[in-house]
């Protein structure tokens, strides 16, 4: 290559280096974001479960069945419940199924009454596993853990082990369709992203066009501006939510086993948290473009990785698990999957609903404070 060309290329190379080194955003992108991503992904991209809550219905109550229960209980990730809610009496199947619906347990292990007799008579016998299939990934993992423990148990029983089989039922998603698991999650992530985007762009646009100055100079109080800006977007986002849900129902065939009204009540709380988050983001974003990028990053990344959407919350490190508690999608995901796939009712999500209210209030207060400070900083 002629030296003249090399000189021109060199000029561009030098200029680009100066740009990278002198632009804080480029430096952040080069050095900070990869570290943050490797940190978050390193701890979140994992399908290991740290805890499996299981109910055991031991209909046999024999020495053998107790050994099997002990085999599960001895495994550090299994938390076994064998008694009723008050801690007394044997757990019934109906009570265990209720716990499954309420997401208190991930599976029910049913040991048949005739376990010892079947094996003594050299007849085949089945251990029943009823697994919550609303999260296909977790259901598969739970099954794998169960299978390993049962196979080890069988291996230890010389001679009769081959007679013991596993009979698995997947509840709420018997075909184990991954769409049943992913689409409600996608609805949650999209709803948060859209609601946050609506307000963040709205405020950033006002700043860009200068019209925010007229709002600031008007007698309007900051909280009046925020309330006024939020209410129309609550309605729009709620309609958006209904459209997405209907699309999921009729296009993808996702069932709606619970009440749409219950889902919309919680969706309303969830949307408010998203809208408040958008205002909070926009307070630090000078342009619409920055607001859009920041909103995408702040809503999508944690919602995908840290809310239980893809990776089980139980597999997160304690730090990331703590972060997951302040992500609105963590709570709404449980609600939407519960209502859609399990037909769960409002009373099953009082904690999640409460957390959504708390998060919405905190985010709204933070957004108002930030907005107010920005307004005052200008004065």
């Amino acid at each position: 290559m002629p030296s003249k060309n090399m000189g021109r290329i060199k000029a561009i190379i030098v200029k680009e280096f100066f740009h990278i080194m002198r632009d804080p955003r480029s430096l952040t992108m080069v050095f900070f974001i990869p570290l943050v991503m490797i940190f978050i992904l390193g701890y979140s991209v994992s399908y290991d479960l740290n805890r499996i809550d299981a109910a055991v219905i031991d209909l046999s109550q024999s020495r053998l069945s107790k050994q099997l229960v002990q085999a599960f209980a001895a495994n550090r990730i299994f938390v076994i419940r064998t008694r009723g809610n008050n801690g007394h009496g044997t757990l019934s199947l109906a009570a265990a199924e209720k716990m499954l619906r309420q997401q208190k347990i991930k599976e029910i292990i049913v040991i048949p009454a005739d376990l010892s007799r079947c094996l003594a008579e050299k007849r085949q016998c089945s251990i029943g596993l009823i697994i919550d299939g609303s999260d296909v990934n977790i259901a598969n993992l739970v099954y794998q853990y169960d299978e390993r423990i049962i196979l080890e148990f069988i291996a230890a029983m010389k001679g009769v082990g081959q007679l013991l089989k596993i009979n698995t039922k997947i509840f709420f998603n018997p075909e184990a369709r991954s769409q049943f698991f992913f689409i409600p999650g996608l609805v949650a992530v999209i709803l948060l992203m859209i609601s946050a985007m609506l307000t963040s762009l709205s405020v950033a646009k006002e700043r860009e066009t200068g019209s925010i100055a007229l709002l600031f100079i008007s007698p309007l109080k900051s909280r009046e501006i925020i309330i006024g800006k939020t209410i129309p977007y609550i309605i729009v986002s709620l309609l958006d939510g209904v459209v997405i849900l209907l699309f999921a129902r009729f296009w993808f065939g996702i069932p709606l086993r619970g009440s749409l009204a219950v889902l919309l009540v919680f969706a309303l709380l969830y949307i408010v948290s998203g809208l408040a988050l958008g205002i909070l983001i926009s307070a630090s974003a000078p342009t619409q473009r920055t607001a859009m990028l920041a909103t995408l990053l702040i809503t999508m990344l944690p919602s995908f990785l840290l809310s239980g959407f893809i990776f089980p919350l139980d597999s997160l490190s304690p730090v990331l698990r703590a972060i997951s508690y302040v992500i609105p999608a963590t709570y709404f995901l449980r609600i939407i999957r519960g209502v859609i796939l399990k037909g769960a009712e409002l009373r099953h999500f009082l904690f999640d609903g409460g957390m959504l209210i708390a998060l919405s209030m905190v985010l709204l207060a933070a957004a108002t404070r930030k907005f107010n400070r920005q307004r005052k900083a200008a004065q």
Binding site: T209, S211, A213, L214, L215, I217, P219, L220, A378, Q379
Partner: protein, 247 residues
């Protein structure tokens, strides 16, 4: 002996720093009630920054601004009621029609519905209703300017700050606009109008020329021309800037 009338705007030693850059450098001036003062200067001279500090939209680095004797850092809520502000970009909502913009700004100003309807009827008398029904982004700049001024005047402010109100508007619309400003002056309003169109100085009772954040000339246009021996504002402006550059 009667006490001197309280100035509508008193700016004292006003400065604004953006990091290490000093956009406004300790300027002082007053605007008397009922006066039209032209705030002249090239782009980047510090006009918008000064006006924004007067309105309270921008934090003052040092110095004071009194509006009708009230410090704008302590009595902003009271001052807001006295001030009308029309920003550089008109700042109307582009997807709303002219009438919808008027309705919105009337609403946030807290105008009673009956009064708002009167204002809207007044606007309909001035501009054809088919134009008022179009999105503001689609109407000619002259109409946008008219609507922006109308919106600014709806709460009936005593003091009106207009930041480059005639930029991007054709000469005829500018002339008509200044006629409207004269009408306001006749009604006792005080006006501070920033512009980089030097020919607009002739419309003003007094002019303040600002350059690089400093006031380089201040006074009645005729008086300044006579003092400096210049025939027009353009020459006066060039001379003031040159003189300032040499100091």
């Amino acid at each position: 002996m009667s006490a001197p009338a309280l100035a509508a705007i008193t700016v004292s030693d006003l400065s604004k720093n953006f990091g290490h850059f000093q956009a406004v450098k300790g300027i002082s001036f007053t605007v008397a009630p009922g006066e039209i003062v032209g705030f002249l200067g090239p782009n980047g001279a510090g006009k918008t920054t000064t006006i924004k500090m007067i309105t309270g939209l921008l934090k003052i680095t040092s110095g004071t601004v009194l509006i009708g004797g009230l410090d704008n850092r302590k009595h902003l809520a009271a001052i807001k009621k006295k001030l009308g502000y029309m920003s550089q970009k008109f700042s109307l909502y582009p997807l709303l029609t002219a009438m919808e913009n008027i309705e919105f700004f009337g609403g946030i100003s807290g105008l009673p519905p009956a009064e708002l309807r009167l204002h809207m009827a007044r606007m309909e008398e001035q501009v054809a209703s088919d134009i008022l029904g179009q999105k503001i982004q689609d109407v000619p700049p002259g109409i946008r300017q008219k609507v922006a001024l109308f919106v600014c005047l709806m709460p009936e402010p005593e003091i009106i700050l207009l930041d480059e109100p005639t930029s991007g508007v054709d000469p005829e619309a500018r002339r008509l606009f200044w006629n409207e400003l004269y009408g306001l002056k006749k009604h006792g309003k005080t006006l501070l109008v920033s512009t980089h169109n030097l020919d607009e100085a002739e419309y003003c009772d007094r002019i303040i020329i600002i350059h690089n954040g400093e006031i380089v000339a201040c006074g009645e246009p005729e008086e300044l021309l006579r003092q400096k021996g210049k025939v027009n504002i353009e020459e006066l402006f060039k001379d003031a800037i040159q003189e300032h550059g040499q100091n």
